[in-house]
């Protein structure tokens, strides 16, 4: 099957990103802000339990938030 035939056959499934371009800034900012708050909460009590309850969510929020914020800034990674 040639690639052109595959292209024609898949006309019903155009690629849709997880977060559309218009919402990247909002989602990225919200995640980064929550990462900031959670980091602050971790800073108040640096226990092992805090890593699980604040550190892990903060890291995840920062990881995804950074990707969306970089995209929103125009560097499409």
């Amino acid at each position: 099957m040639s690639l052109n035939e595959i292209w024609e056959a898949t006309s019903a499934s155009p690629y849709a990103p997880l977060i559309s371009k218009d919402n990247q800034f909002f989602v990225g900012f919200s995640l980064l802000f929550s990462a900031f708050i959670l980091t602050g909460l971790f800073g108040l009590n640096r226990s092992f339990l805090s890593i699980a309850s604040f550190g892990v969510p903060a890291s995840l929020a920062f990881g995804f938030g950074a990707v969306f914020m970089i995209c929103a800034a125009g560097v499409y990674v």
Partner: protein
């Protein structure tokens, strides 16, 4: 050490010479298995390069079926030929024929391309070939230097007898010129009865000639010199990057041009006053004054920069989805006159959804991407590209990359797939750990006719591959938290335990 190095270098030189000599064929003459019954050559000189379409009825005069037809090209033009395409004129819907080049001793007058028919041609059978190609840098400005607002003339030389490896029974050449102002053209004598060439508007017809008794390869030089008060735009290099971002839902395009105007050089210094006056009056000019780049309807965030920085003399007219094209109008920092260069880069973003589709089924997530091969300025005088590098940068972790260049039933100015060199290499840029997968396609001798051609790229890209970037950043911050906790637990107090 030196004598050894010299001997090694000499032996290297000798062995490489042997290699070349082994590949090339001395005094090569193609087997005389065919005869050109009728040949019509259409040469179009309306653009900054010569475009030739040869329609030829070929007959097998051998006693056995034959499938290799040799196309002769004068040695001095051989490296300038681009976009060579051969089709069966009577079945244009079929695929183009495979074409290879033959290496012949450089002192020979002709070089050859071998056209392989899909099925051998039976003895006495005929086939009509449609051969199309363009010749880059074949037009020379005469005079070579002119005043700033003077008219420019180009000259084109060719042979009245079409170069051929086989005897030709009848042939003619139709020249299509861009203007009525043709101060010089060769009038042939003794080739046919009556006036030669015959003129009709801007079309000059040399022939028809009865050349059944003329030996193949006979040269009858003809030169035409015609007005062409437009720039002869040549890109010595075009680098084009297409960057796919799944996270951003974006297709980023950047094109880097190294342009040159191959027209007549200026006789005197550039006069700013004369330029301003002629520009104000919108007089035709031999300089590159403005380039219009049509972009796809959804294109956004265009930029136009050169070595100095942003070039503010550009205008962007956004398009409208689904059908109205956007237009990026560029004015170079200075008018590019004959012999002058200008290099710049332009770029823009598109929604990825118009170019990428997800292939359902299969074990891994598979995607197919369809993007234009080249875009670039669309100008009536055309652009010739000497060297083009198209790079499709796929997301990090994309695997099993396959590509295809979409061929149309009519000539789209692209060479055979064999002449497009492809390689898949990693490309490292922002926030990459392994490097993105980049498919690089390299083509020599291209023209802006290839604007309509498309590349299709398919690749596999799983969910884990897409998670690589956020997970890397997450792991980074988590390491900081764990370090803060671990270091905070270290007891550094000065006291008795």
């Amino acid at each position: 050490m030196r004598p050894f190095a010299a001997i090694a270098a000499f032996s290297g030189l000798f062995s490489s010479c042997l290699l070349v000599c082994a590949e090339s064929t001395k005094d090569f003459t193609p087997p005389q298995a065919f005869k050109n019954v009728n040949l019509v050559r259409n040469t179009n000189l309306e653009k900054g390069y010569a475009r030739e379409i040869i329609n030829v009825v070929v007959e097998n005069v051998d006693s056995e079926p034959r499938s290799s037809y040799y196309l002769a090209v004068p040695t001095e033009l051989f490296d300038k030929v681009g976009g060579l395409e051969v089709r069966d004129k009577k079945a244009p819907e079929k695929d183009r024929f495979a074409v290879d080049s033959v290496l012949v001793e450089s002192s020979s007058n002709s070089q050859y391309f071998v056209i392989d028919f899909p099925e051998p041609l039976a003895p006495k059978a005929q086939i009509t070939l449609g051969i199309s190609y363009y010749i880059l840098n074949a037009l020379s400005p005469r005079p070579a230097t002119i005043e700033q607002s003077e008219k420019q003339f180009l000259s084109y030389s060719f042979s009245a007898y079409t170069p051929s490896a086989y005897p030709t029974v009848t042939q003619k050449t139709k020249l299509k010129l861009p203007s009525m102002n043709v101060p010089d053209y060769t009038v042939t004598s003794g080739l046919k009865s009556g006036e030669d060439p015959e003129r009709l508007g801007t079309t000059y017809t040399y022939g028809p000639y009865d050349t059944s008794k003329v030996a193949p390869g006979t040269n009858y030089p003809v030169t035409v010199r015609y007005e062409f008060t437009k720039p002869v735009i040549t890109a010595s290099l075009l680098e084009r990057d297409l960057e796919v971002s799944h996270w951003g839902g974006n297709l980023a395009t950047e094109e880097r041009y190294w342009l040159r105007n191959n027209g007549s050089a200026l006789k005197n210094h550039f006069s700013r006053v004369e330029w301003t006056v002629s520009n104000y009056q919108q007089m035709p000019s031999v300089s590159i004054r403005e380039l219009r780049v049509p972009l796809k309807p959804g294109a956004v965030d265009p930029y136009f920069i050169d070595d100095i920085g942003n070039v503010s003399t550009s205008r962007y007219r956004p398009g409208k989805l689904p059908a109205r094209d956007a237009s990026l109008e560029l004015r170079p920092r200075y008018p590019v006159f004959g012999g002058w260069n200008y290099s710049f880069r332009i770029g823009w973003n598109d929604q990825l959804s118009s170019f990428l589709r997800k292939v359902s089924g299969g074990a891994s997530d598979s995607y197919v991407l369809k993007v234009p091969f080249i875009e670039g300025p669309k100008v009536p005088e055309g652009i010739q590209y000497e060297h083009v590098v198209v790079r499709v940068i796929l997301p990090e972790g994309a695997r099993n990359v396959r590509y295809e260049v979409v061929d149309k039933a009519t000539s789209n100015g692209l060479p055979n797939t064999d002449n497009i060199k492809a390689s898949v290499t990693p490309h490292k840029t922002f926030m990459d750990t392994l490097g993105r997968t980049a498919l690089t396609l390299t083509v020599e001798n291209l023209s802006d006719e290839a604007r309509d051609a498309q590349i299709l790229v398919s690749y596999e890209y799983s969910l884990w591959d897409s998670m690589r970037k956020p997970v890397t950043i997450t792991a980074g911050l988590l390491t900081v938290f764990v370090a803060a906790w671990a270091i905070g637990n270290v007891d550094v107090a000065i006291k008795k335990r």
